[in-house]
Assembly symmetry: C2
Amino acid sequence: MPARPMTATRFLARMSLETEVGTALSDTRIRLLEEIGRKGSINQAAKAVPLSYKAAWDAIDTMNNLAPEPLVVRVTGGRQGGGTQLTEYGRRIVAMYRALEIEYQAALDRLSERLNDVGGGDIQAFQKLMHSMSMKTSARNQFAGIVTGLRDGGVDYEVRLRLDPRHEITSVITKASAENLNLQIGKEVFAMVKSSSVMLAVDKGMKLTARNQLWGEVVAVHEGPVNNEVTLQLPSGRNVTAVVTQDSCTALGIEVGTEACAFFKSSSVILAAYD
Amino acid sequence: MPARPMTATRFLARMSLETEVGTALSDTRIRLLEEIGRKGSINQAAKAVPLSYKAAWDAIDTMNNLAPEPLVVRVTGGRQGGGTQLTEYGRRIVAMYRALEIEYQAALDRLSERLNDVGGGDIQAFQKLMHSMSMKTSARNQFAGIVTGLRDGGVDYEVRLRLDPRHEITSVITKASAENLNLQIGKEVFAMVKSSSVMLAVDKGMKLTARNQLWGEVVAVHEGPVNNEVTLQLPSGRNVTAVVTQDSCTALGIEVGTEACAFFKSSSVILAAYD
DNA sequence: ACACGCTGTATTGTTTGCTACATAGATTTG
DNA sequence: CAAATCTATGTAGCAAACAATACAGCGTGT
């Protein structure tokens, strides 16, 4: 974790349009719509987002009911058992949302820029607070790495990252984010994983679909009422923290000294880069 | 529900500064800090926000731990049993957040203004969607009323609303919101209540602390696995929907035809106004 | 000495949003 | 007719966030 002088924190545009009661449009829902447009089925779109089919269907249904005209058309039965297509209207809404998002990010950028320019004493205190907060919260499961691969997957980018000669992880992020980060082969970035989305395994022979697997030795187990917090040390000295239920902890026989594998889906890897 | 021509929807500034993992500063937390500054105790501040003491304490604790220097100082014991005070640093952070919030709202206003100016076909479709969504989602437990009273309570405003000659409800909203809505005696506004925060009673003699009590007749009971959805019709013909547990439903003997009272806290009433 | 009103924890329950699983129904193609 | 593959729907269960409640400890004023 290099102690580089970090410049002003950038505000992230995590937009979501909310009504008085409940959320109407969020990034997840828009991504779901986009995937439907590409895949032609709720089922596959749900897998791509990722979401459970149920959640996806519910989201689609409420959106369809809320909107003045349907966003998607659904067909049951048929050659491939049916399918779902974006309507022209739906396509327009998605496009508008994305356009609005870009504008929103631009507005935020102007805002933070202004904050930097003015630079009074109080503002600096505020920035220092935000900075220290973001450092503290992201201090766990943060890996510095170098981009070694970049695959355009239509909407998503698959980013391959080398942490050290022995460890690589991959991250799948939206195209928009990728472009935003200005990713390039060789660029240094930070990868973060929430400890709750890290799973553990001990069986060396087991085949896992998860792309990211890091083997290490358990160096600490912090017991909670329901979940345990397990810290793994990788051969390189890096630490990985996972939060797993006590049950699976005992089932796997995890205790200090155990060899274990921390694995996580590439879609739960968050990337950050500082220019 | 008058079908008035509604002008462009304004984006609401619900700002919250989020780090990669978790929310650091949100409106609720800042309001908590403000209340602490005024009341001098976490306990009373929590009641004012409102929040449970636990939630408030947790929030304060994490903020204090995250920040480079404490935002509050806490004392146990003493004349009034102790207390909590904002530090100078904490006061500065609150002030900065509020200032930033104003800037943020301004940025959003510029954004929505631009959206209105450009006004291409797609943008109008988008606005129509958002409009219809906010209408549809707020269709339940929405009451049109006229402001009959307005009491400045320091940070909060207590708004008295007349629905019809026989029914009045009161709402407590933050000063900021009140000013945003440009409330005045005689102004027509909409009041909304989530059906999950509506409670039921049948005992006519019972004294309730809740300010808002609406008597009516049960016209529908929609049974769910755990909760029932009970719809009351007021004498004026208005409908109120409450979601209550099956247990309390049977305990109160609620079925179609029962006379019942729907009551809710004034802090769970949301107001909306269209200029 | 004692009461007061707060801090600091822990316990339990509720709500919300999701996942995972199960199953019925649709309809075209082979 | 059967197979394939999706939509459409329900149920169970989990995890996070929060509410409600209880209670021990504290120290100043009366």
